[in-house]
């Protein structure tokens, strides 16, 4: 998704002289094009994320729109106090882009795993949270973040997928809400479950906050079971947000959050490998769904 990010930002920057891009010394070489086109609007802040967010706040306080970029955890948790006080408290036009959702950097160890970022970011007042599943969603949310007032967090993954959600037929009894690049796996899940006679509706949610509660309620109207799928901890992510809707709306239904466990992985490996281990590939997700449908008494 780095390509779509740079293309979209270059496009926006061509039409808006007030758009700045800052990086925490990451994004080589794909930010080179932006930096060559707009040398005075690309700022490599060095490996100093707290300062980067503060400077971005200062730029925004002076009328600029700023995109800041780093790896998921360094763009969010490393500089959380600056994000909270400088960006959210003051409601400034700074858009944080975190690259490396979930297990993207699976070989790098848990310092680099995007496990808690959605939970942390969506707890902040004024912060919008985006997690696109394919290149179309990525372009759309980058533009949405740009156009909306206030801070935003955009969580990007590696996959440059152009596969979109298959349309619903109306016969589905199971709804899967998915966010991020696991969309691709969930689309395979639909085929796997179809072979077992289970009809699944897939809803990709690239906008985690503000969550469109009415859409969530309406798409699950005829479902007997709801599943959430995300490459993020099961604590505080999309699954928790959907669970809140079900609880507050008194919707009594089979429900399971599918995501990463509330722990730091002791093993490393490629994203595909770890997705398999954590039952987040198509096979694993299908198995969890089948098990839960069997056990469900509702």
């Amino acid at each position: 998704m780095k390509r779509i990010l740079t293309d979209t930002l270059i496009n926006l920057a061509k039409h808006d002289n007030n758009l700045f891009l800052m990086s925490g010394d990451l994004g080589f070489p794909f930010f080179l094009e932006f930096s060559k086109l707009f040398p005075d609007r690309f700022i490599n802040a060095g490996i100093a994320e707290q300062n980067m967010i503060g400077v971005a706040a200062g730029l925004a306080l002076s009328g600029k729109t700023v995109f800041v970029y780093s790896i998921v955890n360094f763009a969010t948790i490393r500089c959380l106090d600056q994000i909270r006080n400088d960006l959210c408290y003051q409601n400034l036009n700074v858009k944080i882009v975190g690259y490396g959702s979930g297990l993207t950097y699976g070989k790098a160890g848990a310092t680099h795993s995007g496990l808690e970022d959605i939970a942390v970011m969506q707890s902040l007042p004024n912060m919008m949270v985006f997690s696109p599943g394919n290149i179309y969603e990525a372009e759309r949310v980058i533009k949405m973040a740009y156009e909306s007032k206030g801070p935003a967090y955009i969580r990007l993954g590696k996959l440059n997928s152009n596969i979109v959600c298959p349309p619903a037929t109306g016969e589905e009894t199971v709804t899967i809400f998915v966010t991020g690049t696991l969309l691709n796996e969930v689309i395979k899940v639909k085929d796997l479950l179809f072979k077992k006679g289970i009809f699944v509706k897939i809803i990709s949610l690239p906008i985690i906050k503000p969550l469109d509660v009415e859409v969530v309620k309406s798409v699950i109207k005829n479902s007997k079971a709801v599943f959430t799928v995300e490459e993020h901890s099961v604590v505080g992510g999309l699954g928790s947000s959907i669970a809140n809707v079900l609880a507050e709306e008194n919707i009594n239904i089979i429900f399971k959050k599918i995501g990463l466990p509330d722990s730091y992985s002791k093993i490393v490996g490629s994203q595909d490998y770890l997705r398999h281990i954590y039952l987040l590939d198509a096979q694993g997700i299908s198995k969890t769904i089948i098990d839960n449908l069997k056990n469900g008494v509702k």
């Binding site: 802040a45 706040a57 200062g58 306080l61 408290y89």
Partner: protein
């Protein structure tokens, strides 16, 4: 000389206002407020030149109180400078009011930046200074830091950033009152040699007497101190300055005023 006397009178009035606010509100940080009164007075009565009719004019000089806990001193100076009203001061920390014990962006059209978590103001100031450079504006950005605040790593990230980007329109003033949460700064987490550290990070700067108006005005006008570099003024100050029983004590970082102490303090300021 005439100017110095004028500023001294203003400083005395500001000190009294601070004491009144903190007596009424029973809020702490009296010592932290009193140490930076001359710095604020010099800024607001000579350096910043803020247009009362249009205090948020685009080309204005910016002031950021990064040591946000000294906001009573800022409110007091804003009132003295006619940028907010005396009535506004009476709202300080009262129930339902927006005048918090730390600065909040936009409050009374006079606060540039929200602070309160230490170590944030300088980076935001650097961002503003960068915009001035980028947009070819000639405003300057002044940021007041506490010496204890310089413990924060984020300060030193910005110290690197500002010199790298040659932000010679950025001025950090350190209210070097040498006392922080648990006692003498030298004993809590030694910062010395402070000016030398900033210079090593690529800043120009000098040590000045933070209560001496001629020295303050000279330093604040001689910007940048070194061509092409951001400026740091390490201002030697006395915590609790102006009230004998508060001066150089840790206690008055925390203590609140009772009526007897308040009257005694006012009497000393009036002397």
């Amino acid at each position: 000389m005439i100017k110095t006397n004028f500023l001294k009178k203003k400083a005395s009035k500001v000190r009294k206002t601070i004491l009144e606010m903190l007596y009424k509100s029973r809020e702490p940080h009296i010592g932290s407020c009193l140490s930076c009164v001359e710095i604020l007075t010099a800024l607001y009565f000579d350096i910043l030149k803020i247009d009362k009719k249009n205090p948020l004019a685009e080309g204005r000089n910016r002031f950021i109180l990064s040591k946000g806990h000294a906001v009573p001193a800022l409110y007091a100076i804003l009132a003295e400078a006619g940028l907010i009203s005396a009535r506004d001061l009476s709202l300080f920390t009262t129930n339902g009011s927006s005048l918090a014990a730390h600065p909040v962006l936009g409050v009374l059209n006079a606060i540039e930046v929200s602070t309160g978590s230490l170590g944030h103001g300088l980076a935001m100031g650097a961002g503003m200074a960068l915009v001035a450079k980028h947009d070819h504006k000639d405003y300057r950005v002044f940021v007041l830091l506490g010496d204890g605040e310089c413990d924060e790593g984020a300060i030193w990230e910005t110290a690197l950033f500002a010199s790298h980007h040659r932000l010679d329109n950025l001025v950090a003033i350190i209210d070097n009152n040498k006392i922080q949460g648990f006692g003498r700064t030298a004993q809590v987490l030694n910062l010395e040699p402070l000016l030398v550290k900033w210079q090593a990070f690529g800043w120009g700067g000098k040590n000045i007497d933070g209560h001496n108006f001629p020295a303050l005005l000279k330093a604040l006008k001689d910007i940048p101190c070194v061509k092409g570099k951001p400026t740091v003024l390490v201002a030697a100050t006395v915590k609790g300055k102006g009230v004998s029983f508060m001066e150089n004590t840790l206690l008055w970082h925390y203590q609140t005023l009772d009526s007897q102490k308040f009257n005694q303090a006012i009497k000393e300021i009036n002397k």
